[in-house]
Symmetry: C2
Subunit: 108 residues, 2 copies
Amino acid sequence: MSIGFMSTETIGEKLRHIREEKELPLRKVAALLDIDVAILSKMERGERRITKEVVLKLANIYDYNADDLLVSFLSDKILYEIQDEDLGIEALKVAEEKAKYIKANRKK
Amino acid sequence: MSIGFMSTETIGEKLRHIREEKELPLRKVAALLDIDVAILSKMERGERRITKEVVLKLANIYDYNADDLLVSFLSDKILYEIQDEDLGIEALKVAEEKAKYIKANRKK
DNA sequence: AATCCTATTGACATAATGTGTCAAAATTAG
DNA sequence: CTAATTTTGACACATTATGTCAATAGGATT
């Protein structure tokens, strides 16, 4: 078992926490990303979609594990698709089986 | 283990197979759904998005297990989000953990 | 081939959604 | 209070989704 808590925070919340940890203002990070401060603010609060590119750039800016952020980013997108669905967990299991099957047979 | 094959068919392919099994023409099913034949054709071939509502209506029309179709529908949407992603399966596992956590704590 | 039924394709207009930009308002820090 | 930071909302624009329709293609039958 991991020593950390189960993370239920969204990718946006996670990015905000990391940024606050580094004590970087939105203003500076937005400038580094070359996007408007308003957009970054909304991304952190889940009001605007975050792109994979932004996630990777932020991993660099924050010197944070990119894979960790990407998994958080992707799982967010996945959860969005099954929100409020009773069959969500069942669908996730099926999706995982399919994904494994596809991965195993993708190699030529 | 199940006696069936691992199903890698999409919800569209599945719906088409069911329809062919019932020997119903697109024309008739589209009429029952009150949508254009062209759209249903495209839905079965993955060229147009299928909605949850259509899936449920088709479960009725075909007298087919609705949950089974819904799981297929949802897992398709999930897989679409992680297509080509190396971290896809990892993200699915994290999403499942989160979904379970949310479900367990959702009850008031 | 000609006819009929079915299915596919593409073009089009329109609707819905996403995106960047900006400025004003609100919040927080010094 | 003042200044910096963040949030909010409005707007124009781009991108994407959707429904409608007609032309095309495919298959079977005669």
